[in-house]
Symmetry: C2
Subunit: 297 residues, 2 copies
């Protein structure tokens, strides 16, 4: 099997996520003295690329317009673009990847990519769809950080065409990068679950901030509001795309949430202390059992 520290990694889109993946690889995979591996980065932002070279995160950088001369050198490529752009990139450049290389994406919605899988797969590289479950409310390479993946989940959606050894290599890589739980599933389950854990949470946080009477409300905050709405410092174009691309699943979860909220609201309206208390007791038990799973990882 290939040695992870000797591979050439290519990262397309060197922003918050691409930059963080690059730093995590630099710090945890290419840090051994015998490493001959390299990180190549492509972006539209020259300043980010220049900073990445100065910080010795990227060995070589490429403007997106010259990305093909990067792709042909890479053993392992992370495409870290917005969902639509990821799909377009994979199709447009499918013949420019190094034959036999591993290529993955980090898109938060998979249905569109899977609907055009045949076009992507004709490229002769081993495409393994993935989703690193970590991020930040801050954007851009300057805010990237190699440790945001520590103790986080990585979701892989392997295809029947994927080579076993490539899948194993991928798992080894993300384990080294700090991910502690690798979940294998399919695109439908991914989109359904992520619509809940990620997109619904961003919808709720955004609506909560929208409903605030004014910005001075935090003078009365004790931490709860701040924790619930940190993700509302949202990247608007990205999340617009994510919400609409996963619309069906997201609306399903919004409606379930509205039902739960409505039941709770009803108990309050009717002064129904006993039902309210047992609703909250159930929620408490359910949430505690979820943290046990978090901790078990």
């Amino acid at each position: 099997m290939k040695n992870l520290s000797d591979l050439t990694y290519g990262i397309v889109g060197f922003g918050l996520m691409g930059g963080s993946l690059g730093k995590a690889i630099r710090e945890n995979v290419l840090s051994v003295s015998s490493a001959s591996g390299k990180i190549l980065a492509a972006d539209i932002n020259e300043a980010s690329l220049s900073l990445a070279r100065e910080q010795h995160i990227a060995d070589e950088t490429f403007l997106i317009s010259k990305v093909d001369s990067m792709l042909c050198q890479c053993d392992f490529v992370f495409v870290c673009l917005y969902p639509h752009a990821t799909l377009e990139f994979l199709i447009q450049h499918k013949n420019n990847f190094k034959p036999g290389s591993i290529v993955t994406d980090i898109s938060g919605v998979k249905s569109e990519i899977f609907s055009r899988l045949n076009e992507i797969l004709s490229g002769g590289f081993d495409f393994i769809p993935g989703h690193p479950m970590a991020g930040s409310e801050k954007e851009g390479y300057a805010n990237s950080c190699g440790s945001i993946f520590k103790n986080h989940n990585y979701i892989l959606m392997p295809l029947k065409q994927n080579k076993i050894e490539n899948l194993e290599l991928f798992k080894q890589l993300v384990s080294l990068m700090g991910f502690t739980r690798i979940v294998e599933t399919d695109a439908f389950v991914h989109d359904h679950k992520i619509a809940f854990t990620s997109q619904l949470c961003h919808v709720i946080a955004s609506a909560l901030v929208d409903s605030a009477e004014d910005s001075k409300i935090t003078a009365f905050g004790g931490g709860s509001f701040e924790d619930l709405t940190r993700i509302a410092m949202i990247n608007a174009p990205l999340w617009t795309e994510l919400f609409l691309a996963n619309k069906k699943e997201l609306l399903l979860h919004i409606e379930n949430f509205e039902k739960s909220l409505n039941e709770l609201k009803g108990f309050i309206e009717k002064n129904n202390a006993s039902s309210l208390k047992s609703y909250l007791e159930n929620v408490r038990e359910k949430r505690i059992s979820m943290s046990r799973i978090e901790v078990k990882v």
Copy 2:
């Protein structure tokens, strides 16, 4: 003016909040070598009191049934009981506090207490209603911690009867304990604002956990769901009381939140990308301006 390090502090209810206040006083106020002050603690839980003595947080402890022999010694009393119990305690023991002492509560809802203020104020002590805006999803003295107040808000609702020097002393005390912003307001504004920053957030977090399909969902979590629902490990009896005691204000905020959620949901349903994006951009700006206020403290 009195010297804070020489006062005798009494804490009624030595659980998570009472214990944390006691620890913050021990660590930040009574830590000077010249201090002659003391901490007296009362609770129904003998094991907590015994642990508090062993840990040298409380100098003397009292079962609640013997609390009057504690109250008569204290210059500054924190009543850290549930809202109804706080009101009952203040009325029942109003003649047992040391004359001229400062007495405060930490209740998350004030309207009930204010509706019976005359009964409390006939006790001959200086009652200054307050609300330390910090907490934890964990309960009990064993989980208390003196540093949970660092950089948090303390809300005071001074009465026209309060002595200026007592109010000044109170502010000095909570500043030493780690609170960085002291907000002075009245009971109505408090209950209205707290219904949003605290109670609505607990309602939303609870409904979100309730709507989860199963407890294994955290395998697909990336931090957002976990952050939004940590407070759903909720103390059910306490929050049942808080929700119902502040029902009117809370329902108002739930309805405003539902309107905001519904607008956002509508844009998703209608594939209205431009309205969705501008909604999210507004939310982003609003939330960022809130963090500036957080940071400015």
